[in-house]
Each structure stands twice: as structure tokens, then as C-alpha cells.
Symmetry: C3
Subunit: 421 residues, 3 copies
Amino acid sequence: MKTLVILAALLCFAATAVAEECIPCHREKTPAAVRQWEESAHFKAGVGCEKCHGTDHEKMKRGEARVDMKACAPCHKKAFDSHRQSRHGMGLHSGWGCTRNLEGRNQRECGFCHDKDSAEPLSTVQCARFLKQSAEMGEIGCNYCHNVESSCASCHSNHMTDLKIVRDPASCAKCHMGPDHPQWEMWQTSLHGTLYGTLGAKAAPNCQTCHMPGGSHDVSIGITMSSGGIAYPSEKAAPQREQMIAICSQCHAPAFASRELARGDTIQKQSMAIVKEAEKIILDLADRGLLDPMPENRPPHPLSGNKLVLDSQLLYEDTSHIERLLFKMKKYDYARTIKGAYHQNPAYAHWYGNAELKMDLVDIKAEGSRLRKAGRGAAPAESAGIEAELKVLRNRLERGDISEADYQKQKQLLLDKFLKK
Amino acid sequence: MKTLVILAALLCFAATAVAEECIPCHREKTPAAVRQWEESAHFKAGVGCEKCHGTDHEKMKRGEARVDMKACAPCHKKAFDSHRQSRHGMGLHSGWGCTRNLEGRNQRECGFCHDKDSAEPLSTVQCARFLKQSAEMGEIGCNYCHNVESSCASCHSNHMTDLKIVRDPASCAKCHMGPDHPQWEMWQTSLHGTLYGTLGAKAAPNCQTCHMPGGSHDVSIGITMSSGGIAYPSEKAAPQREQMIAICSQCHAPAFASRELARGDTIQKQSMAIVKEAEKIILDLADRGLLDPMPENRPPHPLSGNKLVLDSQLLYEDTSHIERLLFKMKKYDYARTIKGAYHQNPAYAHWYGNAELKMDLVDIKAEGSRLRKAGRGAAPAESAGIEAELKVLRNRLERGDISEADYQKQKQLLLDKFLKK
Amino acid sequence: MKTLVILAALLCFAATAVAEECIPCHREKTPAAVRQWEESAHFKAGVGCEKCHGTDHEKMKRGEARVDMKACAPCHKKAFDSHRQSRHGMGLHSGWGCTRNLEGRNQRECGFCHDKDSAEPLSTVQCARFLKQSAEMGEIGCNYCHNVESSCASCHSNHMTDLKIVRDPASCAKCHMGPDHPQWEMWQTSLHGTLYGTLGAKAAPNCQTCHMPGGSHDVSIGITMSSGGIAYPSEKAAPQREQMIAICSQCHAPAFASRELARGDTIQKQSMAIVKEAEKIILDLADRGLLDPMPENRPPHPLSGNKLVLDSQLLYEDTSHIERLLFKMKKYDYARTIKGAYHQNPAYAHWYGNAELKMDLVDIKAEGSRLRKAGRGAAPAESAGIEAELKVLRNRLERGDISEADYQKQKQLLLDKFLKK
């Protein structure tokens, strides 16, 4: 790999100016950057400052000369191409929305968030939470990681080229940690991670072994879920699964690997059923006007206005307590259960995941019960009851929860019951 | 130790067939397993595949030939025996219940869960939470760790025999981590753990130093609490404590060690008193029919049916919000407080433990107050009040909370007060 | 540095008795202590037991001869002086209150907690939470870390003098971790920490690099917030900021460092605004008598009796649920947001910090709404409404939330509205 990089760098040699002008001053101003560059493969291959940073010094001083991946691409074509194929290379910028108005944005990227010729964002755009942030929090809290689509430095760091950096799971930990996707923590305390910690790479795999086999930059290899936790359609998932089993089979019997991964699939389905039960409770409360506050009394959702949003665009602010509980459930606990299962970590699959998921459901049921009771207390008269029930039924029909026939049948039952009173 | 293992292995040499048949094929199918075995002490001592796996290839292919501890026992008798004596060797399988119907189960194990000739599980059986899990979650989330009673590979891993693995605290971390018992995390960030991290074993102890002294496999040495956090009776606890102080005294003055451990004991009692206060609030709510939902309106508890269960069989699902809070309190926060204190970790003893414990009590009191107020709102008439109060009093008598004399006195007071109105 | 220590020790040589008397017995009683001392720079410099421990053996045996920093000061003057200047050296003992009645306490220390000649503690004293603890929890949970003001051993450990110990971030982790200030965790998983983990000190800074530059013991260098998260007045903050930028500039362009730190400042202000919004909700509930329980119905606050306390003396026990939520918000989530931003850790700034902060606000608003509704249910009559509103308005005036003119105007509006009914 190192050889490859040096070779690629050598090909660029002719085009590289020696960094004669920049260095004397920058040895004072940014000593570590200069030192790191001088120890890098870039230096050895004659790749100087201008090659990556260009020559517009004023722009650099304004902090507007971030080195985009496109600067690296000509020399590191193979890595660039497989990165662009991967989940790292596409779609993660969705968090940025169009608010960033990036210069020279590739037009094909619009299709990620918009139907052709539509200015309305698709419901799959991953950015409502980003759109609620201050510019500062958006920068450190969102884009710091989500700029991986356009910046090789996300993983490789700025001036050092030592491949030890990106071959260490710590380089992944920077982003793949925390309440929403603690892949680093769960690997580190799994059998794989602990053996790796004790005996190193000869004894057990790290992130790179399974997710970047052979140095590939396509980190999506063998993954059968989309980022919202939604399983791929089986025609797409089956070849991915085969690829992952091939990776596991370097150490394990394929049948064993297959069973372990299939268990993850089953746990994914079981966990999603628990989430769906919680969503149903919230939808019913919304139908009855019992959320506190109701969506119409909140600041509008950045993408959906005053509609109730429970899908992957769910917010954790300007919402009701029960929806906030659902946020924790879906984004944190559901994710930990599944990822914990796929990474063979019992504490994450069970305690940090499944147990929390089930406790969330207890809390959501309890809050639902409280809101319904409070709602009954406030109900003005009996006739309001039947009207509310009929509206709930209509909403179910419109959401596709029940068929037209079911709707008619249940409506009749409600009316009969009301008239008998 | 290594010498011992090799010696033991040599004794088995005669009985060991050379793995001639398996290897050529398995070098393809499970290359890491073969490679690890070839680098192991087993290989050097001529311990081949059949010795551990047997010869029924069909069974192996069905995944039913897991290597039980009994396969290791004949050669590793001393380790096996002290393991069986320890908490690792008995009782942890309780999580499995009888649902597993393990083949060839040792009949003496029944006594762990059942009184002689009784099919009713004892209340000390640690399995209600397991019994609620799906088969898949039970496997990865429960049995992955709880199989330590029957599988040496739990700690030693499958084909590697390098003792570095089991002498590294990371090998304990796999199970002894997470919200319920973060022993690994609290050791790692204690003075012991940080000195160990910086200067290694010469400067500070790790898990093995204190809990497996001299390579003993009896991990219960010197521990004075049962797994539910309940202190041993003093006649059993005193000799255990002496053993632990002897271990501490390799570095510390015995009086210092004794004081430090006694502080843990006191904190255990103080913390238990907080838990008991919370339990009392919940019992009172149950007496008044104010839990939401009441036990009779829930799916039955796997061991106790529709009775209220607040002991170590407490569930985190299909329960009320306030009981869910108690679960967090007992299983997570109480455990962290005590274990944090015994492991000299201020952040775990105080912030992750004691502070959470006390916040749980605030939340439980608040929820109790809310439920009582909601209950009063629903109370139909004054006379219901006195009946409910008398029932609560009777329940207290039956639970042994108050004496017969107290019961009579308080009953009279209630009646007097009622009649005076 | 090592040379300096040895030199200083040599100056003390004449005064040091050879530890002839202690060692034979302590080699048995406290073997590690003896071994560590024999391998220490103290041993090489002839600094024996008596030099630090004195000669009162009876006192030592009662555990009352803890080695105070003052014993180290004569030889380690420079370190002692800069430590005393720093936040480590002053004020942290505030947690201890006056309950400890430390022997020979320096009278100037009184001024930290009291105005001259006043027995009333200042509201800035950091000890209400300590005063609520049992002696045992106070010891392990509070003083274990907060004794840093008076004990060099807090960081240097007892008998070892290897500077590796205090140059390792692990030595800081012991205290600077956990829910309230996970500086260690957020550094470890930041770009700085992960590069340090992979390539060591040549690639990235650790705690000591930025907070103890050049071996200084003034850990407050370059920090612009007081421990309650309150920003310094700008005349004090500006030179501190300059110092920190100078430290960053060893590697980074000053303009870059300045921008990164300024972003932290902005996030601090934004986060404080969220906290203030929550406090306002709680103050309003208190004004209306709707907290459950109200301060007058709780055990008195150790410093403020039955007054409502929402400042840095906020308790996490004997309080209402909504104040408990505020505790989590201020002490944990606000702190993590800001410190995460200053330490360039996206997961701490956003998920562990900002997202939790905003979810806290959702929960506090929901609890406020519930309490207000429950309060309205209990309101006896309409006239009670106007009286309560006027009292709320008076309270706001008294707290300085509104001006006298505003008070008069809003009062008139209330009265007009009431009379019109």
C-alpha cells in the first residue's frame, strides 16, 4: 500500500513546485504542519504546499482553502473511486442541507435530496436535526464528521501520511462512537476487540479488517442496512451478505459466520417491532389531539412544517416528551441493540440496547396512559368522545393502517355503541 | 503455570490422535482456527482436534459440538476444580432456566433453582429477565457471558492458549462492563488501573491480581456480597474479608486495607437504605391499587405470575414506569455505587452511582406523588378512603412490615379519625 | 525536570535521617511502599521516611499522618508555588465545608467561603452537595479528588516518583472523567487523543501539553471559564485566551486556534441561554406554588434553608423532579456541550452535550405543563387566579427579571383583565 502511494506520488512529481516560498515563514507560523509534512511521503515524493493548497494566499488566510478530496483524487485515484462508491463518499453530506451553498457543487448530488426538478426535499433527507442547529454547533457537532464525503483528512489527518493512523481503529473512533453509534466502544469490548488489544492484529480483526478489506475505501462492503437502520431489499442485501461472510471466513467456518449474522437480522426485526409499537401509541395520541404540545403549537419542523414527524427526521427539540422518548428509543437504543448484536457484544446488544429499548416502551406506554387520562379529564361532553373516535379511525384509514372495509366495520361498531347509550 | 499446562498436556499425549484427517480440509475452511492451534501449547503437546471436539463430524457441522468444560477437565484438573468452586462455576447458568433442557445436565444443579422435589423455582433464581427474551437475544445478550460456568473458552478463547489473553484485564472486560457492573471501567480509571496502564503490573494490580491471586480460578475469593448485592452472613463474610485483606497487604498496610473495605461495607448499607425507601413507596402504591398498570393487568411474570415483584427478579419490561425506575436504581445505580466504592473509583462511587441513586429516589417520589394525586381524583367517595387505608394496613401486617400490636393500634386510629368526621 | 527534582532533593539531604528504623518492619507490613520508595528518586537522594511522615508513629497508626503538600513544599518550591496559584491549589477544598474542622487551617482560607466577619457561607461556596453526603461517601466520592489542593500524591501517587505517571493523561483521568466533566474521555476520542494513542506525543497533544505547558503546575493557564461554567470578565479572560492560543500555535496557525476557541465561546453562550430558559420555567412554577414538593416542604438546603436554589448549589436529592432534571441539564449536559466544543470532540459537543441539553428542555417544559395543569385542577376559585398572578409578578420584580415600570404596566393589565370578567 505504502509503495502504491509513493508510486502515485512520484507520478505527480513533475507538476509539483518545491515549497520554497511557503516554508521559511510557515516554519514559524505553523511549525507542526511543516514538521509533519517534512516527515511525510508527500515530502519524499516532492509534493509541496501548492499541490494541495493552491496559490491564493488571501483565500487561505480567510480559512476558505480547505483541501477538498478532489485535490487528492488525481494521485490517489483508486482510493478516491472506491471512497465515492461507499457510504462515506455519498449521502453523508445530507446533514448539511442546501444551507451550505457549497461552491462548485456537483449537480448530480441534488438527486440525493430532491426529486428531479423539485425544490421540496425528499423525506429521506437526513438533515432536519442539522437545520435546527446554530452555525457553530452544526460545524463542530455535525460537519466535523459528516465532511468525510469530501475530505480525505477526516481519517488521514492533515499533513501526516503515516498509514498507521488510518489503520488504527482509533481513527474510526473519532466519529463512530457515542450514544447513537458506539461501534468503536462495542468492538473494543467484544472478543474481537479485547483479543486485538492483548495480542494485536494476528489474533483478531479491527474495524479495517472487516469494513475495509484489502485496503478498500468502500466502507459499505458487506453491510445490509441503510443508515436509518432499515434493511436493504433482499436482492441488494444477499450479495452484500455473501461478501461479509467471505470476510468472516478468513477465520471462521462460513456456516458459523452466517448464523451469527442471521441472528443480527432477527434481532433487527424484533427490535423494529418494539419501535413500531411505540410509534403506534404516539400516532394514536396525535389523532386524539393529546400530544403536549401538538405539532401545530410548535415551531415548524424544518422539512415538514407542522406535521407530526416520527420517521428518520424525528427531532429531539421543540417536541413533546413522548416524542423525545421515541427519539432516544430509535436513534440510540434501537441502533445499539442491532449494532451490538452484529458486533457480538453482549453488553451493548442487551444492556445498552435491548434493555433500554424495552424500558423506553414502558415509559412511552406510561406517558401515553397519563396523557389519555388527562385528556379524558378535559373532555367536555360525551358527544366529543364519539367524534374524536371517528376522527382517529379516519386517520388510521388515511395512513393505511386499516383497509376501507375495516374502516367501515369499525365505524359502524362505534356508532352502534354510541346510539345504544 | 505455563510449565504446568504443558506437563498436564504431556500426560494426555498418549490419548491424542494426530489431527491428520481434519487439518488439510480445515486449513481451507477455518484457516485461523488451524493457524492458532498450530501456534498453541496444545499443538506442541500433541493435543489434536479429536481430543476436544470428538469425532462426530455431522454433529459438529450442525453446530452442536461446543467444547464443554468437561472436555478440558481431565488435563486441567486444578483449574477446573477451583473454577467449579467459584461464582463463575456455579449458579451463573441460572439465567438459562430450565427452558434450555440441556442434554446430560448434572442433577445436582437442579438444587440451585428448586427445593428438593419441587417444580416451583426458588425466588433466588436469576432468570425472569432471561425468560422474557427472544431466543436470539437470550443467546447473544445473556448466555454469551453466562456460559462461563461450562466453557473455558469464555475467557481463554477457542484455539489460542497464550496466557497473555487471560492475564489481561481486557479478557474480563468482555462481560464485566456496562451499566449493570462496570468493574472494568471503574478499575481502568481508578488509581490502580491508571498506574497499571502507565507502568504495568509492577506498579499496580489488575483484575487478576486481586480476584485470581496466584492464578487461582476461584474468582469469588475475598468477595463478601452475593450477586444480588446482598451481604453475606457475617460468619461467611469474615473469613472472605480476611482473605481479601491479605491480598491488599501485599502492597498496603492491613489497617488501611481494612478501613477502605469497611467503608465499602458502610456505603453498601447506606445505599440499600435508599433502595428500601423507594421500594416502600411502590409497595404502598400497589396496596392502594395505584400502579399503572397494576400487576394483574400485565402479562404474567415468568416466575411469579401476576404478583408484584420487586426483588432480584424485577423486570424491565411489561411493568409500570415507577418499577422501571426501581430497576435502574437497583440493578445499575446501586451496583455502581457499591462496586465503585470497593474499587476506589470516585466517579463511579459518586456520580455514576450515588448521585444517580438519589436522583432515582427523587423521580420515584415524584411519580408516587403524581399517582396518588391522580388516584385521589378518581376516588368515588369518602368511604372508599377508609376501606383503602385499612387494606393498606392489612397488607403491611401480612408483609411483616408492622407487628400485630402496631396493626391494631393504627387500625383503631384510622377508625377513630373516620368516625369523628 | 528529573534533574531539578534530584537537585532539590540533594539540597534536603542533610536534614534527612536514613530510614534505618522503619524499613525492616515495613518491608513486612507494607512491602510495596518500601519497594517503590527504594526505586524512587527520593531514595537515591537520601529522602527517608521521617522527612515526609514525621516521627509520631502512634499518629501514623491511627491514619492521621497523611502527607500534606506542605511537607513537599520546601524541596519542590517552584511546583508548589505554581500549584497554589492554580485552580488545583485553591478553592477545590470548598467541597469540604467547615464541617471538617481541619487542624491548623490557614485563616486566609476562610475568605474563600465567607465575607469578612460573617459566618454565613457565600453563595459561591461549592459544598451543598458535599454537606448532604455521608462521611463515607464524602470521603471516596468528594474528597478523593478534591484533596488535590493539599496533596501532591493526588497526581504523583504515594511512593513512586517516576514522572511517567504524571505525564500520562491517565493520571488526570482518575478525576477528570464521568458524567460531569469527561475531559479525559473527550480528549481520548478527539483527533488529538486518537493521534496520540496511535503515534504518541510527537503527533498530538495530551492533557499536559496544553494545560501544564513546560511542566508548569498552574493547570488554570489559558482557561477562560470558572468551575461553574461561568465565563471570566473579559479583562481577565483576554490574557488567558492569548496564553492558550500561544500553546495551540506550536502546531496550528494562530488564526485557526483563535477561531476554534471562539466557537467554543459562542456555544457556551448559546448553551447557557437554553439553561436559562429552563430556569425561568422552574422559577415561575415556584412563584405559583406548583413545585412538588415546594422548598418549604423539604429538608432544608444545607446553605440556604428552605429557599429555592437553582444556582451552582443546586442539589440532586431532596428536591423536585423538575429541579432534578435541571441538575442533569446544568451539571452534566451543559458542561459536556461546552467542554466537548473546546476539546474538538463532535460526539461530546453534540450527542452527549447539546442533544441532551435540548432533550432536557423538552422534558422540563413537559413537566412544567403537567404541573401547571394539575395546579389549575386544584385552584379553588377564580379570585385565587388573580392573586397568584400578582404574586408571580411581584416575585419577578424582586428577582430583577422586570423593571419597576414593566411591573406597574403588567400589573395594570392583569387588573383590567380581571375586572372586565
